[in-house]
């Protein structure tokens, strides 16, 4: 079995693509902002570190010159005490040119500072260091700040930038969905218009509201539909001409045979003429049905203007009523106002109705009524008394040249023609046995398409 890939949705693709693009751009923006932030924070922090170091240098020099011993309490003779307890972000040490520590801040760890002081900035062991020298290169102050603080600041700032994405993503998805839906609405309408076209409806699609990009496509579709319509019209014209050309000689042969029967006395020649007449009737019936089938398959089963199908049904029944026996069996029920407007083509409905009534009168129980009903909501039903039709036979009845358990004469095409017309007009033919709500009988029903207004 060949698997057919599911066609993708343009709307879904556009929605997902745009949402993904927005997310990606936002993330790239966040990364770029983080990178710039990192550089700016480094600049500011470096400046602060430099300022602190340069400010400490004269103070440290004064301290060293005065030779004031540092206050006791921290166990370190050259460690300066803190005024109030706090976590020290910036630590510093003061060293001589030989690298001896002369002073240090209260949290400073001398081991993390490079052994040999060098002027300027350095980064080592997770620290940002700045060294300033004074007193002709004999006194060095080195301040240190952990780089993790800077990194933390950048991460927090970037995290703050990422938070709106949580709200932005669904909002942008919603916005994109709404925008795409709004933009694609004419396309969806166009899609619906094309989907509505079929064998029964070949009217041009409405392309007035389409965007400029799709206008040419609608034009091409309409040109294609017009070509198809012309081809089908030609086919129907051919079927109609064939019907005319075929019927006239058959009518002539039948009429001459009937005159022959009328003018010939009883005997073998007259019997033979009767057989010719019967064969001509059969030929006439079969050619009629084949032409009806050709018409049904030729399309054009929906009219441009609504048709009064109740009136059409009246004409069809008039044909059957020319047979007095059949006239007595036929019972017609029409909508209350006697009018039913539908877009189904009048000729197509006449063929459908004729075949269903023929089927009921030929294959239904003899001398029992045939009920023909057309309701205001467009349900067309033909019911007749009959024995139950087995389900397996019911399934085959709509196929050409299939017949139920009947000995009545017929072409075997009537229900196939009715089915073809119903499907071509966008509806379906339902066959039931027994009749709904009854123990037996046969029912054929068609919900007529596109009923117009209250009948």
């Amino acid at each position: 079995m060949i698997s057919v890939p599911r066609p993708h949705s343009l709307q879904r693709r556009l929605g997902l693509g745009l949402a993904f693009g927005v997310t990606l751009l936002w993330l790239a923006g966040t990364v770029a902002a983080g990178w710039i932030l990192q550089a700016e924070i480094d600049k500011v922090f470096d400046s602060a570190l430099q300022e602190v170091t340069q400010r400490i240098l004269p103070l440290a020099y004064s301290e060293v010159l005065n030779g004031d011993p540092p206050p006791a309490g921290d166990g370190s003779a050259n460690r300066l005490p803190s005024v109030l307890p706090h976590r020290e972000q910036i630590t510093y040490i003061v060293r001589d040119s030989a690298g001896h520590v002369l002073l240090q801040s209260h949290d400073a760890d001398a081991t993390i500072f490079p052994a040999t002081p060098r002027r300027g900035f350095q980064t080592a062991s997770g620290l940002r260091l700045y060294t300033e020298a004074g007193v002709q290169g004999t006194l060095f102050v080195t301040a240190a700040e952990p780089t993790r603080d800077r990194r933390q600041a950048v991460i927090e700032a970037a995290g703050t930038l990422l938070w709106p994405l949580v709200l932005l993503l669904p909002l942008s998805q919603l916005g994109v969905w709404a925008l795409v839906r709004y933009t694609l609405r004419p396309v969806l309408v166009f899609q619906g218009e094309i989907e509505a076209r079929g064998r029964g409806d070949l009217s041009p699609v409405n392309a007035t509201a389409l965007p400029a990009e799709l206008g040419p496509m609608a034009g091409a579709v309409n040109r294609l539909i017009a070509r198809l319509q012309r081809a089908l019209d030609a086919e129907r014209g051919f079927a109609a001409s064939s019907a005319h050309e075929l019927r006239t000689p058959v009518a002539a042969a039948l009429a001459q045979t009937q005159r022959l029967i009328a003018e010939t006395p009883d005997g073998p020649p007259r019997d033979r003429a009767h057989k010719v007449e019967a064969a001509l009737r059969q030929l006439s019936l079969l050619s009629e049905k084949l032409l009806q089938l050709a018409k049904a398959e030729g399309g054009g089963l929906l009219a441009e203007e609504p048709q009064d199908l109740a009136r059409v049904l009246g004409f069809v029944l008039d044909d059957f009523r020319s047979d007095p026996d059949l006239a007595a069996r036929l019972h017609l029920a029409l909508p209350p106002r006697g009018v039913l407007l539908s877009r189904m083509d009048a000729d197509a409905f006449a063929i459908l109705a004729r075949n269903l009534i023929e089927n009921a009168s030929r294959h239904g129980a003899a001398d029992r009524p045939v009920h023909v009903a057309l309701t205001a909501d467009g349900l067309f039903r033909v019911t007749n008394d009959s024995a139950l039709v087995p389900p397996d036979v019911m399934r085959r009845l709509k196929q050409p040249f299939e017949r139920g358990a009947t000995r009545a004469a017929g072409s075997g095409l009537g229900l196939a023609i009715a089915e073809t017309i119903a499907v071509g007009a966008g509806t379906s033919l339902e066959l039931m046995s027994p009749i709904a709500g009854q123990p037996s009988g046969f029912e054929a029903r068609v919900q007529l398409p596109e009923i117009v207004g209250p009948s």
Binding site: A240, E245, A251, A255, R311, D347
Partner: protein, 225 residues
């Protein structure tokens, strides 16, 4: 009844003509619309049988032209076009009936009778006159319960009187009913047919209006002894 048949197919046309003639009517058969136009301008027909597709035009246009000229002659369309829309167009153009080819000749005869009766103002095929019970559809007459057989021409002539019971029919009108253009008419033919009808249905069934023509009589019902 005088009938104009407009049909271009020679095989079908001859069979239809023979059928109508066998029913006792007079038929003028034309295969073109221009010839049919000449016929209706010179003769009064009781019925026109009209094909729709003719060599020199459409039968529907001919029909519309006749109706526009206030010609109310009944028209039955004989056509191979079976579409319901064609039928509606035909009836809207003023046709009285529509018969799709191929058709039974007996069906054609029945339709001709029905249209003729409808135009005569009495669509009921059953009529009682005095002792006579007449079934126009079955072409049967019973006189005091006994069947009476009329020939086709006697029947047509008698039917013309019954359909217009108060009308005075001249000898010329009756000859027009009985004979087509190409038939030769004997001078006393009508008198012969009137005599035969009186013999079969009773002398007072048809009154003679001296010097003018004939009219349906008013026979009295015989009371059974």
């Amino acid at each position: 009844m005088r009938v104009l048949l407009v049909e271009d197919d020679p095989i079908l046309g001859s069979a239809v003509r023979d059928q109508i003639a066998a029913d006792g009517h007079t038929v003028d058969w034309m295969t073109r619309l221009d010839a049919a136009g000449d016929c209706v301008s010179t003769v009064t027909y009781e019925l026109i049988l009209l094909d729709l597709m003719l060599p020199d035009g459409r039968g529907l246009d001919f029909l519309k032209a006749r109706r526009a000229a206030r010609d109310a002659t009944p028209v039955i369309i004989l056509t191979a076009r079976d579409q319901i829309s064609d039928r509606i167009a035909g009836l809207n153009a003023g046709a009285d009936d529509y018969l799709v080819k191929p058709f039974d000749l007996s069906e054609l005869s029945a339709r001709i009778g029905a249209v003729a009766r409808r135009y005569a103002g009495n669509p009921n095929p059953h009529v009682d006159i005095g002792d006579l019970t007449i079934d126009f559809a079955a072409r049967m007459i019973h006189r005091r319960g006994e069947p009476v057989v009329l020939t086709a021409r006697e029947w047509v002539l008698f039917e013309a009187f019954v359909q217009r019971p108060r009308a005075l029919l001249s000898k010329a009108q009756m000859e027009e009913q009985l004979y087509s253009f190409d038939a030769e008419v004997e001078s006393n033919t009508i008198e012969v047919y009137i005599g035969r009808i009186r013999k079969k249905l009773g002398h007072d069934i048809i009154d003679t209006i001296r010097g003018m023509g004939y009219r349906l009589g008013q026979p009295k019902r015989t009371i059974p002894e």
